[in-house]
């Protein structure tokens, strides 16, 4: 069967299957189980209405269970077994992991990432959103800043590899050093600071995202509040920090947490730029070095990452909901 035909058949069965499921299950509910007739007609109608939402939710819930809950529980169980998965070792994987200096480095670095990247991206995004708001060519500036969003992490890393190149003819940083007569250095090998050179790449990508969301929020601020503040003699800084920012706090939190969740998943930048060498490992890249080799250890790392993400995620969803209201 040609791929084209396969696609058409899949779409047909997929859509048809969904329609058939809802139609047939409701039919069965109304005609077979609780028919609105006979001595218990009223009770049946009530019961059918209690069950109906669950019928509609069932496909989504089962998909969530199969693709989300089962892997989470499965991963946890897997992390309690040895490397080949045939022997129960309890929390051994976790204790060896926490004692491993490699893990400690990755954990510390990841902490730096969480502190720096969301803060910097949100700050720059907010700054750009505010500054470009009144400009004629503001939209062009916004488009330019938003563009890196369209680049994959690996692509962005390759671009920045040139910026950081250990060569005054290629690398921007070394070209600047060269102007002042300093010799070339490999910035990716400079302990501790090399982490920030990697973070800048993600900030560069994410600033556009923060800017777009926050710029929408700034536009949504009622004009009256700003006017009132100006009439009361507030300077532009006071208007921005005391009037505007408090009113979009919710949105800032959502942007912040969304980027934080992303930071905990990104391993491509570290993988492409340094391969986790020179003390730049972060948890996801540390996990990669164990994956398919010692799945007990790898799932243990994955679980730690999940535990860190979870509170941020809950906070994020809560804030997003509050925004909706």
């Amino acid at each position: 069967m040609s791929p084209m035909m396969q696609g058409i058949v899949t779409v047909f069965f997929g859509v048809g299957g969904c329609v058939a499921y809802f139609w047939l299950s409701n039919l069965a509910l109304d005609k077979v189980f609780f028919p609105p007739r006979g001595p218990h007609a009223g009770r049946n109608i009530n019961r059918a209405n209690v069950i109906r939402p669950w019928l509609f939710l069932l496909p989504a819930l089962s998909a969530l269970g199969l693709y989300l809950m089962y892997p989470v529980v499965g991963s946890f169980v897997r992390s309690l077994h040895n490397r080949s998965g045939d022997e129960f070792v309890g929390f051994d994987n976790y204790s060896t992991m926490f004692a491993d200096p490699g893990f400690q480095t990755a954990f510390t670095n990841n902490f730096l990432w969480i502190l720096f990247v969301p803060a910097a991206s949100t700050f720059f995004g907010l700054l750009v959103a505010q500054l470009t708001d009144q400009l004629k060519w503001g939209n062009i500036a916004k488009s330019l800043i938003f563009m890196p969003m369209a680049i994959s992490f690996v692509g962005a890393s390759l671009i920045w590899k040139f910026v950081y190149a250990n060569n005054a003819d290629v690398g921007l940083i070394n070209a600047i050093r060269d102007m002042f007569g300093a010799g070339p250095i490999d910035v990716l090998q400079v302990g501790f600071w090399n982490n920030f050179f990697l973070m800048i790449i993600l900030v560069w990508i994410q600033t556009g995202f923060a800017m777009v969301i926050l710029s929408g929020a700034l536009r949504g601020i009622p004009e009256e509040t700003v006017e009132a503040a100006i009439i009361d003699g507030a300077n532009p800084f006071q208007v921005f920090f005391k009037i505007k920012v408090p009113q979009i706090k919710g949105t800032i939190t959502v942007v912040w947490t969304t980027i934080t969740i992303l930071v905990l998943k990104v391993f491509d930048i570290v993988y492409t730029m340094t391969g986790g060498n020179f003390g730049t490992d972060i948890l996801p890249s540390y996990m990669m070095s164990y994956m398919f080799r010692d799945d007990g250890r790898a799932t243990a790392v994955a679980f730690v990452i999940m535990l860190i993400v979870l509170p941020v995620m809950i906070w994020n969803i809560r804030q997003a909901r509050a925004e909706m209201r």
């Binding site: 490999d186 090998q189 492409t272 391969g275 986790g276 070095s289 010692d294």
Partner: protein, 451 residues
């Protein structure tokens, strides 16, 4: 691809560049320096008309074209059809197909580790009796090749499961003959001379070496080749084998000494282009460029036989760039050890035609047909070196044939977690200033954690 026209092979080499649409072989039977007798004898002995041989392997693109031309002669000789399919994810594919019972007849393994795994699970069939003796007799450093193809089967018995076809050579030092002539340097014949030359170049105000370990996520692997070569030049082959199987611990003084031998070159600012801090992050593909700079940024580059593919555009091997054998110590009496890698054929689904195909791989002609197309080295001692596509390959072939000891890339034989993980990162740490003993201890503890 540059083709060098050489002697009798020239006409054939020209033909080799042309596609042959109607199944006609590019080489003409009976012409050139080839062992056509071995082909004729094989053709007379085998008639497999109507049978097919399915083969999967890692060769794709240009390499697939070359190997298909070799297989065409098997078809010509026996009448059996060969279906070869190459895949970039061969390692995963073969595991899946053998487990699901849809295995091809033959699989071409890029390294012995995977073949050993499949043999232990009962997915490979041992080669015919007598093959091991034949390989030992007819391959240079024959016993090494037998040992590399011998695994423990599911029944617990050791048998020969793989026969090698195509070898990569790693113990090579590339240099620019022009630069050497201009400075008046001679090719060093021993490690002592190599070290003396290194110091001589520094004394003359030059930089002797270009070393680059950068390779994206695989950063560090070129250093493992250095250490393996140094292991073979400072310890016995038995010690090397024990190191591969971890009977000799990674933090054994012998291994630490080999790591420090690499450090002797790589961690000396005066010895390396860009200083020792440039080693870890210079991409291995860009590293040899320094040989061709004017004035030379470096004079020597230790790297495997594939590296000319990354030389600057228009570099001709033999005139602009050449190589010499990475020499052994004169005072250590370890012979001429050679480090390399290679691909091996294993039987995943036996059949008569498959058995005949293994016989075909024993004939010199099966090797010569690819040798003449370039990018192929062999340890088969019965081939005619004149059929190599160019002088450079012929020189590498000679190194292989004169090897007293051949050892396979240790990091390829070690468990992936070490050979493609801890060993790489450990070497990066070492080249950026970590202590050799500490690094070795870290790699060993990772190995211990796997038990």
């Amino acid at each position: 691809m540059k083709r060098l026209a050489l002697g009798g092979a020239s006409a054939l080499a020209l033909f080799a560049g042309m596609a042959f649409a109607d199944g006609h072989a590019p080489f003409v039977i009976g012409e050139g320096d080839f062992n056509w007798d071995s082909y004729q004898a094989f053709a007379d002995a085998n008639d497999l008309a109507g049978q097919t041989v399915d083969i999967t392997g890692p060769w794709t693109g240009n390499e697939k074209e070359k190997v298909d031309k070799v297989f065409a002669f098997f078809t010509e000789a026996t009448g059996a059809t060969v279906n070869y399919s190459g895949s970039d994810s061969f390692e995963q594919d073969i595991v899946i197909s053998t487990r699901s019972g849809s295995a091809p007849n033959l699989a071409v393994f890029p390294q012995p580790g995977l073949a050993a795994d499949l043999a232990s699970q009962g997915f490979l069939t041992p080669l015919a009796d007598g093959t091991a003796e034949w390989v030992a007799e007819n391959f240079a450093a024959g016993q090494s090749w037998v040992d590399l193809g011998t695994y423990t089967g599911k029944d617990g018995a050791d048998a020969l499961y793989g026969i090698f076809y195509r070898v990569d050579l790693k113990s090579l030092v590339w240099y620019s003959p022009d630069a050497f002539d201009e400075a008046g340097y001679d090719i060093p014949q021993s490690m002592e001379e190599l070290k003396a030359l290194t110091d001589q170049i520094v004394a003359d105000g030059g930089t002797p070496w270009c070393i680059g370990l950068g390779s994206g996520a695989a950063t560090g692997w070129p250093a493992t080749d250095w250490v393996e070569d140094m292991m073979l030049r400072t310890q016995s082959p038995e010690d090397y084998d024990a190191w591969v199987s971890n009977e000799l611990k990674f933090d054994d003084p012998k291994v630490i000494a080999a790591i420090e031998e690499f450090g002797y070159f790589a961690r000396n600012d005066a010895y390396v282009d860009g200083g020792s801090s440039a080693v870890a992050n210079t991409d291995f593909r860009e590293s040899p460029a320094g040989l061709f700079a004017i004035p030379p940024a470096c004079y020597m580059h230790r790297q495997a036989s594939f590296i000319p593919a990354f030389f600057p555009e228009g570099t001709s091997i033999g005139t602009d760039a050449d190589f010499f054998y990475f020499p052994a110590y004169a005072d250590k009496d370890l012979g001429k050890p050679v480090l390399g890698a290679g691909t091996l054929f294993g039987i995943t689904k036996p059949s008569d035609a498959t058995t005949a195909f293994i016989e075909f791989l024993k004939t010199p002609i099966a090797h010569e047909l690819w040798m003449a197309q370039g990018g192929f080295l062999t340890a088969h001692a019965g081939v005619n070196p004149a059929t190599y596509a160019d002088d450079s390959l012929r020189g590498q072939g000679d190194i292989l044939r004169n090897a007293t000891t051949f050892r396979f890339d240790a990091s390829d034989l070690m468990p992936g977690e070490i050979g493609a993980g801890a060993f790489w990162t450990g070497m990066v740490d070492y080249s950026t200033g970590a202590d050799a003993a500490e690094v070795a201890k870290g790699i060993q503890s990772r190995w211990d954690a796997m038990q």
